[in-house]
Symmetry: C2
Subunit: 289 residues, 2 copies
């Protein structure tokens, strides 16, 4: 993407200002799309912004790095941030406004409330990051109430997050349509992620093992394999062939409830999390049978 | 109130229908007030409806008895219901529409999400009814998302509930103004409550001990008492003078955070819960110093 010229993108830091901008658009009868991100935008995020621009008159992009979804031992402080880059990336993809509040604007004194959902968050990343999805649900619910969009856009890269947001938005009747967008990949298959910037050149090369291993699993299913354990073993063995990779999980679940299945049928999510050096990467595919 | 003539009040049972009615009002530029209740309406509820009617063009009243806020040992099944009475009561007070969904409409299959808040729910009723406020926050958040009102009306009778709803609505940025309304009492001082119908004549007489004991506490504070323990002892002794009364709690807390205070100053809630026979009644006063 072309980041040469300085962006004229409107940057909003307060809840009051974003509400008044959205209210003004509403008065004109305009529809609102919303793309919640944690910034450091790549082409995956830009694909969400482009989709929102196609389906709505105006698009709000938030880049708030949400402290509530990081555990104390996780990478909140180190999480990459680059506002000039993000403003240019939003402008290029056709977004209209960036929302980047301070943590104190989102989490005032005596902040003690939360949104959570139990079923979709039990396994996969929920099992190893127990407070993570409570933080995600809470900040996304807050942002829905602040922006009041018609539609909100999420990447299938974070498939469990997508299923979790769909679930709490349905359960709590948030009046917003959740739109899922496909994974965007590098030319060698690595799923785009802000955390890819953590990888050394050797790790970056090793990281291709995630998508290559998933492809083996997908082909086995396409060729008739219906036993989750067999697909898991195949993918795990492939991942272990890469010396820099350490498997966190390999799971086969139904995509709606994120629960283990006895047999591969219906809408199935095959999801993996793998450490490459110190960097934890996730990837997945969804298959409908 | 006059319940003689059959009500022509509009009764809505589905989320889709209430949303489409509210959307039609919004298109006309009308403001929406919302009074969430559990039905069996009395003059306390009617005072909320009247206040909403004063401040808004249209008023929605929900009468959904929310199973999620009752523990298994509590009175969900026995909770009093009378739709014909409620329709007449809403009409008399000037409400425009009653929302009464089935439990399955509000809690569909795989319902697994919730809203909760920790600080304001620790003490008082939260201490003895641990899942109660999670159920209240969740259903009120759902109803806010379904009705999308400008303002919502709550009675000070349920003071901890009021503080809890204010807290989660603020924390989660629900775009609705929370309006508090004063306690409505019978001529002998008993706070109006749907649960008063459970009382036998002797218990009904004994129940006046709640408001009379609170009045003693209020007078002590007005006369300069600033030590919470002294006020608690005074009220507790008065409650114990009634043989049919069994004290559940007597507490002095700050009204915003519902936390105990060392000294009576600022905005203070003095709250009690008392069993009269098998019926648990609550009452309170708020004093600003």
């Amino acid at each position: 993407m072309n980041m040469q010229k300085a962006s004229t993108m409107k940057l909003v830091k307060t809840i009051e200002e974003i509400r008044s901008q959205v209210a003004a658009w509403r008065k004109e009868g305009l529809s609102i799309g919303f793309v919640p991100t944690m910034g450091y935008l790549h082409e995956g995020h830009q694909s969400l912004i482009r989709k929102s621009r196609e389906q709505n008159d105006r698009t709000v992009v938030s880049v708030f790095v949400n402290p509530m979804q990081f555990a104390p031992n996780e990478d909140f402080e180190a999480y990459p941030r680059d506002m000039a880059h993000d403003m240019a990336a939003v402008e290029e993809a056709g977004g209209d406004i960036i929302f980047n509040p301070e943590p104190s604007e989102m989490y005032p004194s005596h902040f003690t409330s939360f949104i959570d959902t139990t079923e979709t968050t039990e396994l996969l990343c929920g099992a190893v990051r127990p407070i993570h999805f409570r933080g995600v649900c809470t900040v996304v619910g807050k942002l829905f109430n602040i922006v009041c969009p018609d539609r909100a856009y999420f990447g299938q890269k974070d498939a469990q997050q997508l299923a979790t947001i769909r679930r709490f938005a349905r359960d709590l009747n948030f009046p917003v349509e959740i739109v899922a967008c496909p994974i965007v990949r590098e030319s060698d298959g690595l799923a785009k992620s802000s955390r890819n910037t953590y990888l050394s050149p050797a790790e970056r090369q090793a990281a291709t093992i995630l998508s290559r291993s998933l492809e083996l699993g997908r082909k086995a299913i396409e060729n008739g394999e219906r036993t989750p354990g067999k697909v898991i073993d195949l993918i795990t063995a492939s991942l272990k062939s890469e010396p820099l990779a350490r498997v966190d999980y390999v799971e086969v679940v139904d995509f709606e409830n994120i629960q283990r299945v006895e047999r591969i049928e219906g809408s199935i999510l095959v999801a993996i999390a793998v450490y490459i050096g110190k960097t934890r990467l996730i990837d997945n595919f969804i298959i409908n049978l």
